[in-house]
């Protein structure tokens, strides 16, 4: 177990970049020498916000490049390679192009509500970063109800999306917005339930507290609650409008969904926020389920924020991977999967978490022994639940295999069709089915 107090005594010099909080604390102390208290808190707040914006802005530009390159490799292409070394300046060129483009608005659009969403969508996208712990003491606002704040703020984005879809006066946009609202409301439930599992088990609603619990107990939550982690991952990717759940901007169906009518940098803002949200969701998945800035003591030698970024990158790669591989689910299938699969599964694990927490606290079980047993039990339960779902909840048409037979010399109409179908021999190709 890591000694937090010992760690703190090593820290404290301004050049100790393992904890960027030191720099900020020195500035605060320096201001406190000559200025009022409120000035210090304002300046540190502004510094924190600027720090976050300064990090995510360039990170986004790099991530656009990374995502395009990785997807290109999935697709046997080179990806951007013309602008700058290895195409690294491609996102910059795209941004410049978008800024220079004309900003069109449909004549029949509701102007005010049409112009606001690209700006408003930034607010939740940036606010969420405030509660992300980059290190033991590195979060702009270490709220004791951080989980609640996270869910509340991320829930407001859907209102902005509906504003955009409604005011565009476009049927694709309206369909996209309605899909987005229905989906966001549905997928909030498994998201909340998955986080509730962690809150119940660790006994804290502070996000940093959840990380510190994982550090103290030497375990990451994905091992204890794998199904909650999977549910959270899928629900988050649905909230992010990424394949396989990108129904609210399904290109082949409704063109671009709620932002169909936005052109130029207005579209660019939507796009940037979407990417930023992907990054922040990856970071939160890493924080909640993969131990955040903590990595079995390595965080004493490597800056904690680099560990978090590495884990975030791993989750982000997973998101790119699913996007590059999977087709999209249909609206009703996506809703059905949420309510019939994710909600019961996460609910089950909330109950499991309650029971196991009681065993640990009230019955006083030894954590070093009990936690591995619980992890094994929960992993087995998760696998069982997944297999049960695959058996029971599979739609009827999918339970029969799809078969391809060879007609050989039989050629003709319905009679030949019946003869081929009645033939005893095995079909040449048979896929799917139970």
């Amino acid at each position: 177990m890591t000694d937090l107090a010992g760690l703190s005594s090593v820290l404290g010099t301004w050049y100790d970049f393992r904890d960027l909080n030191n720099l900020q604390r020195l500035i605060t102390e320096w201001i406190a020498d000559w200025g009022p208290d409120w000035l210090a808190s304002i300046i540190t707040g502004v510094l924190g916000a600027l720090g976050i914006l300064g990090v995510i802005g360039p990170t986004l530009l790099i991530l656009i490049w990374v995502e395009r390159k990785v997807i290109a490799r999935f697709q046997q292409r080179y990806g951007p390679n013309r602008v700058g070394p290895k195409g690294l300046l491609q996102p910059v060129a795209d941004a410049v192009k978008l800024i220079l483009k004309e900003q069109l608005a449909p004549r029949a659009a509701d102007k005010l509500i049409f112009f606001l969403p690209p700006v408003l969508i930034f607010i939740p996208g940036v606010l969420i970063w405030g509660v992300l712990p980059f290190g033991p003491r590195m979060s702009v606002a270490d709220l004791n109800v951080g989980v609640l704040f996270l869910l509340a703020v991320s829930g407001t984005a859907v209102l902005v999306i509906f504003m955009a879809g409604w005011s565009s006066n476009n049927k694709y946009a309206l369909l996209g917005a309605m899909r987005a609202v229905a989906m966001s409301i549905s997928y909030e439930v498994p998201m909340v339930l998955a986080l509730l599992t962690l809150v119940v088990f660790s006994g804290t609603m502070s996000i940093n507290g959840i990380v510190q619990w994982q550090q103290q107990e030497d375990v990451i939550f994905i091992l204890l609650f794998p199904l909650s982690a999977i549910a959270f991952f899928f629900a988050a990717s649905a909230e992010l409008n990424r394949t396989p759940a990108d129904i609210s901007e399904a290109e082949s169906e409704i063109v671009a969904g709620y932002h169909t009518e936005y052109s130029g940098m207005r579209f660019g803002l939507f796009y940037a926020v979407e990417l930023g949200n992907t990054l922040v969701v990856s970071a939160f998945i890493a924080t909640f389920f993969l131990g955040g800035w903590w990595l079995w003591g390595l965080d004493q030698w490597v800056p904690s924020w680099i560990i978090l970024l590495a884990k975030t990158g791993a989750v982000y790669f997973l998101l790119i991977w699913t996007r590059g591989t999977l087709p999209r689910l249909r609206v009703d299938q996506l809703m059905g999967f949420c309510w019939k699969a994710l909600v019961p599964a996460t609910l089950l694990f909330v109950v499991v978490a309650f029971v196991q927490r009681t065993l640990l606290i009230s019955e006083g079980w030894d954590t070093t022994v009990a936690l591995p047993i619980m992890a094994v039990f929960n992993i087995a339960l998760s696998l069982g639940a997944i297999m049960l779902f695959a058996r029971v909840a599979r739609p009827a048409p999918l339970r029969r295999p799809a078969r391809i037979r060879m007609a050989g010399a039989d050629i003709g109409g319905l009679r030949a069709a019946r003869e081929v179908a009645a033939r005893r021999e095995e079909p040449q190709l048979q896929v799917g089915g139970d």
Binding site: Q75, N169, K171, P244, G324, T325, V420
Partner: protein
């Protein structure tokens, strides 16, 4: 009425439909003529109740180029390049069907080497066209272009072979009345051998990626179903018909170019849904490779073009020739009045007739299902409108 009033009125209907509660009205949504999923300039007007398709109306003609009329002013040889542009994803098949019709009219005997070369290129074209069809179908299911690009890689190699043989990749203009325009270049057969050697592994990769993909099953199984009776009554052909279980393939039913001497099977589906169409195409590619293997092994020597006058004047009469194009039965009907140009030039495009079943297939499904069904029919708008 200005455009904006028009849209305002349409929007009014939408808003009323949404706010009226029980007295809700369906929404008419235009897919196309410019839309990411319509594979060209084709317009589908769907009437939606929420997400459910109540009615689907097809509007065609945006790509009409008056080919049949133009062909009446040009000699029989000059008409061959037109056929490239009818179905621009299967130019070789279209060349072939037209040349067969013209040869029947002129009574030309095609040398055996030319026959084999024609089979070779028609089957290569089928591989390329099915790669495109399956790739875009998965895209319509919502995949982020990955299967499409992998399948394009195979199509690219086929197009390279076209290019080394006749100089063009898409609009090949390769077949001639009485044979083909050029003999095979020296490097073609090694390239084709390499292609045939590589393809089984590529197909195995696609099958590993796609066939057991639960999301693809959920999206395509039981969607866009059509019964064999209905398919025959609508005179559907090609993979759309075979997916319903009807074993109908002109290469077997009415062999041309010596198809009777090659061994291959006709894959048929069971359910007649989108997934079966996809599987039938996947399996047909394997059968095409099988035919290609036999063509390469038994390629005869001899002339590649019969001695036919460039501007032939056939006797008055008519002819109809049909081939199994990647999309179905492609026929050309020619009427001669003894002049240098056809009196009537008619094309029976498989896409148009297969498309006519779209309404039947998509009503009652969701909007997303209609898109997937449209993708599974594999239309080429150039062929529909001509």
């Amino acid at each position: 009425m200005t455009m904006s009033d028009d849209t305002r009125l349409a929007m009014q209907g939408t808003i009323e439909a949404l706010t009226a509660g029980d007295g809700s009205e369906p929404v008419v949504v235009n897919l196309g003529p410019q839309h990411p999923s319509t594979h060209g300039v084709f317009r589908l007007k769907v009437t939606l109740d929420g997400e459910i398709v109540q009615d689907a109306e097809m509007r065609i003609g945006y790509l009409h180029r008056s080919m049949e009329k133009l062909a009446e002013e040009r000699s029989y040889t000059q008409n061959i390049p037109f056929t490239d542009r009818i179905d621009y994803l299967a130019a070789m098949s279209n060349n072939l069907a037209y040349c067969l019709a013209a040869e029947e009219l002129l009574g030309v005997e095609v040398p055996p080497r030319a026959q084999a070369i024609r089979v070779m290129f028609a089957e290569l074209q089928r591989v390329a066209s099915h790669a495109m069809a399956n790739g875009t179908f998965i895209n319509d299911c919502g995949a982020w272009h990955t299967p499409l690009f992998h399948m394009f890689r195979d199509r690219e190699r086929v197009l390279d072979m076209f290019e080394m043989t006749c100089g063009a990749r898409l609009t090949t203009n390769y077949m001639r009345i009485g044979g083909v325009a050029f003999d095979l270049p020296d490097q073609l057969l090694p390239t084709l051998e390499q292609f045939l050697a590589d393809m089984p592994e590529n197909i195995a990769n696609y099958e590993a990626l796609l066939l057991e993909n639960e999301i693809l099953h959920a999206r395509a199984r039981g969607v866009g179903v059509i019964s064999p009776e209905m398919a025959i009554n609508s005179s559907l052909s090609g993979p759309v018909l075979r997916a319903t279980g009807v074993p109908w393939d002109l290469r077997k039913a009415n062999p041309y170019c010596g198809y009777e001497s090659y061994e291959f099977d006709v894959p048929v589906g069971e359910q007649g849904d989108c997934f079966d169409r996809f599987l039938v195409r996947m399996t047909e590619v394997k059968q095409s490779l099988r035919i290609l293997r036999q063509v390469v092994d038994t390629l005869p020597d001899g002339p590649y073009l019969a001695d036919v006058p460039l501007h032939a004047r056939p006797e008055p009469g008519e002819s109809y020739a049909r081939v199994e194009s990647p999309r179905g039965e492609l026929g050309f009907y020619l009427v001669s009045d003894g002049g240098p140009a056809p009196y009537r030039f008619h094309c029976r495009p498989p896409s148009l007739i297969n498309l006519s079943a779209l309404k039947e297939m998509s009503i009652g499904g969701t909007l997303a299902d209609a898109i997937v069904t449209l993708g599974s029919i594999d239309i080429v708008v150039g062929e529909i409108d001509r």
